[in-house]
């Protein structure tokens, strides 16, 4: 995802002879084949990433208490749908504005290729607009899902959804344009292949701002002690993690943005193998570390460890060796196990561990690019800080405005009775007693 759309033609023309694969790119049929395969990559990777919406929903549903599960489900289905609409309305063309000042450009609604497009009119050196748009829109939905988990069990539905409108329509696309739209950070040499920073840290920063403005759940921090609130269904949380793991092959693999040559398709397979390795090592690291620290392994942290491994490898899933992916993912696993109790020390109540997984491991993954990819530490840190300041400050202001105008938190009684009955008047598990 590190090239802007309008640069692709030039890049493709330059890159192909350098790779010594010129024979594959000559002739009309070969060009059509490249277009078809890259479009196919976007469509298939896109529906894998789409399924991550189900993964987030199940992970979050499993880690909240049973009285808040239906609320968590409606947040997830609504945020995905809002993201899809906002990304069409302004998001896509704000993030990929073509030639712009490198910082800020508001785009209009997305327009698809005409029905039965003439090959002469199609972007033969890239992919169809529909596939590109779809692939990009499932990424922004992932960012919004990250926020949903952190602020669970005490936020009001509609203020949260208003936040999602702004996040997916404005905040994410503007900061995204700096890198993937060919803006100033991409010019500066910042490297973030599939979005450790652009997607995951952005979601993490927005979540952190939300958690600060919202405050912890009632009873979570009392008398100087942390009071755990165990999740309702760890089988669902595990299913959710496996779905996210599956979706990540599309997330990282599709970000190769091309599948028309031997080199590209081989790179996609390198990315699949590295992505899987990082997840596995993140999970194993968390398994061993929680056993050593707590005398029993903590399943929820093993799940977070796998996800942290995935986030860590997302900034550079192509260049590392399998061993490289292993240790980068392992460091992600360590970060998440140590960061979860640390957040509790600061009384930052992140229900599902979204901030350690997506923000902290995202920062780590972005730094880790320097070990195998082509990037300098200074540029990577510049990008991390730029995304952090813009998203965190933007989200903090937005949450504060929402808090002042409509209020973002449910009443004490509603929170204790559960958001399912208070906000929706229905329960996820009506035949169970109150949890």
């Amino acid at each position: 995802m590190n090239l802007m759309k309008s640069l692709i033609p030039a890049a493709a023309i330059c890159a192909v002879p350098q790779l010594g694969l010129a024979q594959e790119a000559t002739g009309e049929a070969a060009q059509h084949t490249q277009y078809i395969f890259t479009t196919l990559l976007f469509l298939m990777a896109g529906f894998l990433v789409f399924f991550m919406a189900a993964g987030f929903a199940m992970l979050e549903g499993g880690l909240v208490r049973s009285k808040n599960v239906a609320m968590q489900m409606i947040k997830n289905v609504a945020l995905f749908s809002i993201a899809a609409i906002m990304y069409w309305l302004i998001g896509f063309n704000t993030m990929y504005p073509g030639d712009f000042n490198g910082f800020f450009a508001i785009g209009g609604p997305t327009v698809l290729d005409p029905v039965g497009v003439d090959p002469a009119e199609a972007a033969l050196d890239y992919a169809s607009i529909g596939s590109d748009f779809f692939f990009q829109l499932v990424f922004v939905a992932a960012t919004a899902s990250i926020v949903s988990g952190a602020v669970a069990e005490r936020i009001k539905l509609f203020p949260f959804l208003i936040f999602v409108v702004v996040l997916t329509g404005i905040l994410y696309p503007i900061s995204g344009s700096w890198q993937w739209g060919g803006g100033w950070l991409s010019e500066a040499g910042f490297s973030d292949f599939a979005g450790s920073t652009v997607v995951h840290s952005v979601g993490g920063w927005a979540a952190l701002a939300g958690v600060i403005v919202l405050g912890p759940r009632i009873g979570k921090y009392k008398d100087g002690k942390v009071h755990p609130m165990p999740g309702s269904n760890l089988a669902l949380a595990t299913l959710g993690t496996f779905i996210l793991w599956l979706g990540w092959f599309g997330f990282n693999g599709g970000s190769q943005l091309a599948m028309g040559t031997v080199g590209d398709v081989t790179d996609v397979s390198r990315i699949f193998a590295n992505t899987n390795m990082a997840a596995a090592s993140g999970a194993v690291t968390a398994l061993i570390l929680t056993q050593l620290l707590y005398k029993k392994p903590d399943l929820t942290m093993v799940l977070n460890g796998a996800l942290a491994g995935l986030v860590s490898i997302t900034a550079e899933p192509l260049a590392p060796t399998l061993f490289g992916a292993l240790w980068i993912g392992a460091v992600g696993g360590i970060i998440v196990v140590l960061a979860i109790p640390m957040l509790d020390k600061f009384k930052l109540d992140d229900v599902v561990g979204a901030i350690p997984v997506h923000l902290f491991a995202g920062i780590w993954g972005t730094i880790a690019v320097i070990f195998y990819g082509e990037a300098s530490l200074i540029t990577q840190l510049t990008g991390i800080v730029a995304y952090g300041v813009f998203t965190f400050v933007g989200a903090l202001i937005l949450w504060s405005i929402l808090k002042a105008i409509v209020g973002i938190r449910v009443s004490e009684e509603d929170e204790i009775n559960g958001l399912d009955m208070a906000e929706l008047g229905m329960e996820a598990y009506p035949e169970f007693s109150k949890g």
Binding site: V226, H227, P228, L293, Y294, D298, I340, P341
Partner: protein, 126 residues
Amino acid sequence: MQRAGFAGGTKGINVKLIIATIKPFKLEEVREALTEAGVRGMMVTEIKGFGSQSGHTEIYRGAEYAVNFVPKIKLEIVVAANMVDQVIETIATTAKTGKIGDGKIFVLDVQQAVRVRTGETNEDAI
């Protein structure tokens, strides 16, 4: 033994109620041993409670929390007085692990017992 109708015997001193709390995983073993010892019925309830140990602690996501009430099984067994010692002995040996939380046994007098279907009372009702 005196056979009493509804009008008579509220004496019932020959019938005892044994209440025992045991570890849940021991239930099947205790049931088998009691059946062999001649116990023909029991009431079983899943309960939670605490004793001298006052629960224990677990860790969730790096934070320690107290489990104040520990799951237990409560048995209620009504038997003729002459069987009490044997029942206590059976439960005490079968439910014992030697570790903390094995449970307790209480014995109470029963004032009256009636079998609903036949109207039999006291030992005959058991």
